[in-house]
Structure formats: structure tokens, C-alpha cells
């Protein structure tokens, strides 16, 4: 058992609460998760944001956006492997201890993000009001409003993780 800081403990409790409120689960291996919390806190001090503790960050927010926790790949990895890349988030059966998380191969760079052509298409907006629709790249949450929210109400990702959807 390694000693963990009170900050890591507090962050763990907060993320656990937020995850459960949004239908996600944290890894039941608390000691492992507390290590990840220390990693997130280290990266917050180092870079100013929560770069994934299991990935090498560039230290430039724009370049690391997709790997800011929760990363853009979390939900796809949860679907396919039952855990995100660093195994902070896990599927329900792993959370219940019915299955152990397995190493997850790096997805980053394997799937082209929203394709270039998608961006080339002119966005006309399908809302009757003409208000743009924004999509959270982390969890897929959609909302129609002049600007994306400061934080995703579902997964708490920051505003710059949103893309124009319609």
C-alpha cells in the first residue's frame, strides 16, 4: 500500500460521485485509482490540465485536448474493453468485481477523428430556431445554444472539448 495525499483522496471521492451520477464507474481497485489521482494532480501542476496519467503529454493544451481526462477515447474503450486506457473508468461488471480490467491498446491515432470532409460540409443548422447544436467529444452530449456550455453537464469536460454538430 503506498501512501496517498489528502488531495488525491478528495479528488477520488469527487470523481467517483460525478461518475456514478452520470452512469459511469471507477475502477474498484482504490489503491490503483489513488495512484491515478496522484498522476492527474501531478499533470495538473505540470501542464495546467488533467492530461491522462498513462500517456505522454506534449504540454500544450491544444495538442493534448483529446487526452485530457476523461479522454475522447474513454467511451469507445469502455464499450470494447470494459475499461478506458488508464483503467480509471471501467464497465459495470468490472466495477462489481466480476471481471478484471485487461490492458487496453492505445486507440489514439488509430481512428481518424471527425473526418475532414465532415468539417468541410457547410453547417446549416437544423434547429427551427437556427441555434447551433454542440456535441461533447467525450460523451456525445448534445445541446442547442449559442455557445457550448463551460462544462459538459454529463462528463464535466471543458468547453473546448465541444465541436459544432449542426
Amino acid at each position: 500500500m503506498s501512501p496517498h495525499s489528502p488531495e488525491a483522496q478528495a479528488l477520488y471521492e469527487r470523481l467517483k460521485r460525478e461518475a456514478e451520477a452520470a452512469g459511469y464507474y471507477l475502477n474498484p481497485d482504490v489503491d490503483f485509482v489513488l495512484d491515478l489521482m496522484e498522476g492527474l494532480l501531478t499533470n495538473e501542476k505540470r501542464y495546467g490540465y488533467w492530461a491522462c496519467p498513462c500517456r505522454l503529454a506534449e504540454g500544450v493544451r491544444e495538442k493534448d485536448l483529446d487526452i485530457i481526462c476523461p479522454c475522447d477515447y474513454r467511451d469507445a474503450d469502455l464499450d470494447e474493453y470494459g475499461a478506458c486506457y488508464c483503467a480509471l473508468y471501467v464497465s459495470e461488471d468490472i466495477a462489481r468485481g466480476e471481471r478484471k480490467p485487461q490492458p487496453v491498446p492505445e486507440r489514439r491515432g488509430t481512428v481518424p477523428g471527425p473526418s475532414a470532409t465532415e468539417h468541410e460540409e457547410e453547417l446549416v443548422g437544423f434547429t427551427k430556431s437556427g441555434i447551433p447544436v454542440w456535441r461533447c467529444k467525450v460523451c456525445g452530449y448534445l445541446c442547442a445554444r449559442p455557445q457550448p456550455p463551460l462544462k459538459c453537464p454529463i462528463c464535466k469536460a471543458d468547453r473546448d472539448r465541444f465541436e459544432r454538430f449542426a
Partner: protein, 91 residues
Amino acid sequence: MAERVIALKKKIKLYALSTCGWCKKTKKFLDDNYVEYEYEYVDLLTGAERERVMTEVDRWNPRRSFPTIVIDDSQVIIGYNEDRLREALEL
């Protein structure tokens, strides 16, 4: 350094991140099994030094993920995989 009695002496290089839980598990596994190894915390390196080490990682693991374990300059294990480590290190 005093010689340690291990069944097998292989050259092991671990490329890791100081913040990563899987890298920590890998180190612990090697330590628990008295395996000697060199390691590099790539996130603690900067500039040319990081470039140089990442070029090494790239040669074995173009996805550049961690942990990357290179055994005897001939075999690579990517990610924390106890079974593959046991097999490769004959533990």
C-alpha cells in the same frame, strides 16, 4: 554491485511514465520477481533527451505507448501483461 542470483540474466529496458498506474504495476512486478532492469521515466525528460528516448521507443512501439518493455534488444512487450512477461523472462 553485488551479484544477484537469478535464474536468467536478460537485458531489460523499461520505458515508462512516472504518473502511470500500469507502469507502476510493471515495475512492481519486475521488483517482486527480482528482475534487474533499466528504466526511463520519459515524462520527466525534456527537449533533445526526450526526443532521443522517444526515437528508441518508436523503433519498438510506433504507437509510443507506455509501458514499453524491451528484452535483450530483440523482443518487445507493450502494456502491462503479466503472462507475456512471465513467459519472456521465464519466471
